[in-house]
Point group: C2
Chain length 335, copies 2
């Protein structure tokens, strides 16, 4: 057991999720790590269902669950009063709790006290507690792929997880490395990179994707965009810490401006590739872009295929929608 | 009085500084803000002297001092036991304390309790306590100059303060904006930008250099370098938050590798200018480089002049050593 690693299997807590979207964290865990999930716990009024067996805390414990993962988010990312009694029961039954909310489990006195009394852990994965070293920039063994983007929230986590899955299906040695809260809950470890102290952005990435076997791939989840006026510092530090051999460019083609910044246009794909290579080569001069991953969920099947064909030709790169097509052409380019 | 603004005038606390270098923070405050200093306090064994009248706490209070500034650093940035009795006396005499050490004044129980009892403030300027908004990237009025660098610790703070001084001497409306602990103690406010949470780097800079009169100049202290593999995320966020109209490139010409990274060469000046313009223009497309500030302290007078002449010709920019020559040619280029 590594420090800060969340113990599996999980019981997914869906609370009183108002709809499927409110339980998207649970859905993601179920989708990517079904083997880690023994069941779901839904409170009265819950309108989400991730397709696992409904269980009480006692059922889940009997089925071997080690951790209750809060897979639901409400407005404001708070811990609702009616969740607390259930979560405390989990602690009293010998399970840990993990959550990626703005509010901290550890700030709820009833949960903090019960965890202390029972010797259980509370994982507030949005709030890093580890201390990291400043990045040393020294070349390290193993291979690394980083998903970068034209913008925030355009499919970087999904793309990275799809590449890990495709690689593992081919018998390649690959590990997804999470840099955001949902990714951490899926992978069981990682760091919420936008929440670390600025001096340690690159150092934290060096820590979560350390030297490895020469043929091993770390598939690192990217964050933000070099073209996002609020978050590009995070993206820059992430590129430097990852020392990526390969970049995959993620893009959502119907977006009209950068997320949260109405006056900032989405960059051209070519400009985004060039800027990411320019930054990444400081710590790995051999870096290349190996593919484009397009989130075409807002397009029809026909529009999507046309966009992918045109973009593949324009960039001269394998270009896929990971959700519609999978990522095999990108992994082909790496193998 | 703005929140988080350290009240002047100051008593500079030199403690038992082993040599002048150990008291360089005090020296910087005295050099740039002599009018804010009523005296210095030296303990037995102190081998530094910044040229102010020696005073006890009571003397300084009688002379109007509002804040004791810890202007000395020892190995490890700790608060020495023999300082505490003096600092507590300052609190009991109605003065605040400000320090830029790794260790926090607020973590010393005797100081924390005395400050609470007396209603005084402890400023640990290396550890931001404000919460900042995420950067909005919206163009704002007023002009801004940012000192950037080929590396860390090559003269960005000195250059920015020299430009502020030259502008004020010409009757221009200018304010130095501090982004590191020494700069904050000199200016009385600012933010230790490398210590904020990564998501808020650019937002913190927008906050400390806000919209201003159209003719007003904020002279923003830069940090790190886009070419520093440990800290470039901070430098990137700083560039975006500053929305600089003008950049000044700072450089130390005898350095053989990036500070702390023996395998990383110092970038060429032209490459450094190009990279900084490329990043800065995201939030201010009109940004230009207006000069180069060279720290020639390791060169002879003749070598220095030769280096400045050759560099001015090579870059086609006003090129000065702010310490030897002042920064008049750079301010000429802005006026």
């Amino acid at each position: 057991m590594k420090p800060n690693e969340i113990q599996t299997p999980y019981l997914l807590f869906l609370g009183d999720a108002a709809d499927a979207l409110a339980a998207k964290v649970a859905q993601g865990i179920k989708h990517w790590r079904a083997d880690n999930c023994v069941g779901q716990l839904r409170l009265p009024g819950c309108d989400a269902d991730v397709g696992l067996a409904d269980m009480s805390i006692a059922d889940a414990r009997a089925a071997g669950a080690q951790t209750v993962v809060v897979g639901v988010a409400n407005r404001g990312g708070m811990i609702a009063d009616n969740w607390i009694v259930v979560l405390r029961e989990a602690l009293e039954n010998g399970m840990d709790i993990a959550a990626g909310l703005h509010a901290r489990l550890a700030d709820v006195p009833e949960l903090r006290d019960a965890a202390t009394a029972q010797g259980r852990q509370l994982f507030d994965v949005r709030h890093p507690t580890e201390t990291f070293a400043v990045a040393n920039g020294k070349p390290r063994s193993g291979k690394r792929l980083l998903a970068v983007g034209t913008d925030c929230s355009c499919g970087k986590m999904y793309t990275a997880l799809a590449i890990e899955k495709e690689m593992r299906a081919r018998g390649m040695d690959a590990d997804f490395r999470a840099t955001g809260q949902t990714g951490i809950l899926i992978a069981g470890s990682g760091v919420s990179i936008d929440a670390v102290v600025a001096d340690f952005i690159s150092g934290a990435i060096e820590a979560i994707a350390p030297a490895n076997d020469p043929q091993h791939w770390d598939i690192v989840e990217g964050q933000g965009s070099l073209f996002h006026a609020s978050y590009a510092g995070v993206s820059t530090g992430l590129l430097h810490g990852a020392q990526a051999d390969a970049l995959v460019l993620c893009h959502e083609p119907t977006r009209t401006h950068m997320r949260g910044l109405p006056d900032y246009p989405i960059p051209e794909l070519e400009a985004c590739i060039e800027a990411n290579i320019e930054v990444a080569k400081l710590t790995n001069p051999r870096v290349t872009v190996v593919g484009a991953a397009i989130n075409t969920s807002a397009l029809s099947e026909q529009e999507a295929q046309q966009y992918l064909d045109v973009t593949a030709q324009r960039l001269g790169l394998p270009t896929v929608d990971p959700f519609r097509n999978g990522v095999a052409p990108i992994v082909d380019a790496l193998a």
